[in-house]
Symmetry: C2
Subunit: 338 residues, 2 copies
DNA sequence: ACACAAAGTGCAGCCGGTTCCACTGCACTT
DNA sequence: AAGTGCAGTGGAACCGGCTGCACTTTGTGT
């Protein structure tokens, strides 16, 4: 473990001043004679010199780090989002600091503190609790923030990227109604989440559009973590008039729901038709292959990174942007005609 | 967007010197009178002061950031690993810089450069190509390195954490043999990866232990990315004497393999018995539920983080450690008795 | 009362880059 | 020949915390 050469070592070895080395390091920051540049480059190579990011960041906090704060990376949807965000960021020479909140407001606030201390240039997040004041603080110090998947209505200054939740739930529910289902259940996210609410709203729209009445007993909110999804299913199945079709709009609870259905011995789609908000490859491997709502994760990631970097790079009009990309309904075989 | 207060602002507002503020910030670094401490704390609170990590890191690069370099976070195994690593690190007040190599040697070298420039205290990685010189360089500057899941034999100084690949493949293959299968195929990782090789080694052990001969045509290496897994399956099925059982030891290719089997109309386990290295929840939802090798991701993550932080915190004996945790064979219904 | 230690505090410089500005040549105008 | 412009370079002041050492208060023992 040797001690690392500094810019001054390089300068000395190349017989120039540190200013020149710095200019070689940051092309465009000033003129350097070609011969000098080559010489400095050679010395840098020979010494194995690498400028320290920390020192660099000290001068003017540069847009070199992005915070990615997700609820839970073990959820495949978020995992793929993370993968795409990292790739998009990498393509722009940006690094990603990954944090997970486990849907815990308190953990989230700690993560936010860290992001403040790091002076990251931007944050892409799935907000959990409200932590309103910290979010505002982060905003105050000039961090570009983007909420992805969910949002916080009381923070209107933040960019939002997500699918059109109302429309996607409407189309999923609409499909079931079109196949003749009259009693359609839905398991969505918690009522405090915008995602959870919007999808229920889309569901209502579709049910009413089909000329049916919304039976509140068929509408279930479930927490993102824990066994809430399974319990919701059980409750639905135990109804006097159980549903003949089910929309699982809570991605984090899809496997929990399916497991419960499987344990209940409910055969899909004979006894129950199902549409799920989950487009992992395995949904196609199930028997029967599941009809799903596909979220274009790549687009979500690209837009998020773009927005998170837009303000810094000056390409922004300053106004908060909301981007809703369309989710795709992929029909497979888990829905039967009634 | 206001400019942030610095330690000097705090000092001035509290009527003390920066040294005192610093000591309040870092308990244990020197004595401070209780009254002073309170006053300083109040001012910090009032001003909303947050020390900048970048400045802090300048002095002595501190163990506050860990690099996590994975091949592909959209692979559920790595995703869960990432989730656990982030949690373990967070519990120790450490942040995680996530990078993905996409199994690309060149991307990997760029990631490594970044890690060098950041002077991260430790790196947890699934190495891809060899990039030997950069790894050594990273090691030279005192970065604690841990290879997880795979390793690079020519870098013996690095800690390694993973499951016992030989043993796990042996037990998976052994199970199939015990059920009477004589022709057992295996699709493993590429031959250049330790994981790919070791699992094949375990396979051979089991086949020979069962008194059978290894038919090299049944042994397939497949790249982690792309359609290699599917192609391997097709090749196996097209054999004159196709296998009656299959071990899918390449986690990244499990869905590709299953998809190909499904398209081929092969019913599991009647026509083909299957054991897969993949313990995502969905494997239980398949019909039939898949017999799997379960990797204790939480343990892998915990050990990795511990090792990555051990040297820095001085709790290490200096010698490189290799930790092999046991993988568990979970019997479900995808294996039939022949 | 006096010496002397310990607690509490401040100054100033360092960490390793970036950048403003002043300075030197030299080619090119008039 | 004096004047102008600019490529090329170096000096030194930052950025925002940390910290060694010297200094001032206190408190304690005799």
């Amino acid at each position: 473990m040797q001690k690392q050469p500094t810019i001054r070592d390089v300068a000395q070895a190349a017989g120039v001043s540190v200013a020149v080395v710095s200019r070689v390091l940051n092309p465009g920051s000033g003129p350097v004679a070609d011969a000098t540049r080559r010489r400095v480059r050679d010395v840098i190579q020979a010494l194995g010199y690498h400028p320290r990011t920390a020192a660099r960041e000290l001068k003017h906090g540069p847009p070199t780090t992005l915070g990615l704060m997700l609820a839970d990376v073990s959820n495949p949807f978020f995992a793929r989002l993370a993968d795409n965000v990292v790739r998009e960021a990498d393509a722009r020479g940006i690094q990603v600091l990954l944090m997970t909140t486990q849907e815990d407001e308190h953990l989230e606030s700690e993560c936010l503190e860290t992001l403040i201390e790091r002076r990251v240039s931007g944050v892409i997040a799935t907000p959990t609790g409200d932590n309103l004041d910290i979010w505002k603080k982060l905003q105050d110090i000039g961090t570009d923030m983007v909420f992805v998947d969910r949002s916080i209505p009381s923070l209107p200054e933040v960019d939002v990227v997500g699918i059109d939740n109302v429309e996607s739930a409407r189309s999923a529910t609409g499909l079931l109604a079109a196949y003749g289902h009259k009693r359609i259940g839905i398991v969505s996210g918690p009522a405090v989440s915008t995602t959870g609410r919007d999808r229920i709203a889309g569901y209502r729209l579709a049910v009413e559009a089909a000329g049916l009445e919304v039976d509140e007993r068929l509408v279930r909110h479930a927490a993102f973590r824990g066994a809430a999804g399974g319990d919701a299913v059980t409750a639905l199945l135990n109804l006097e008039e159980p549903p003949s079709a089910l929309v699982v709009a809570n991605t984090a609870q899809v496997t929990a729901v399916l497991r419960r259905l499987s344990h209940a011995g409910l055969s899909i789609p004979d006894k129950l038709s199902v549409v799920v908000f989950e487009d992992s490859p395995w949904t196609e491997l199930m028997t029967p292959p599941l009809t799903i709502i596909r979220q274009p994760v790549d687009l979500l990631a690209r837009h998020s990174v773009q927005l998170a970097l837009a303000k810094t790079s000056g390409k922004s009009n300053g106004k908060p942007t909301t981007i809703r990309v369309a989710a795709e309904l992929v029909e497979r075989s888990s829905v039967s005609r009634l």
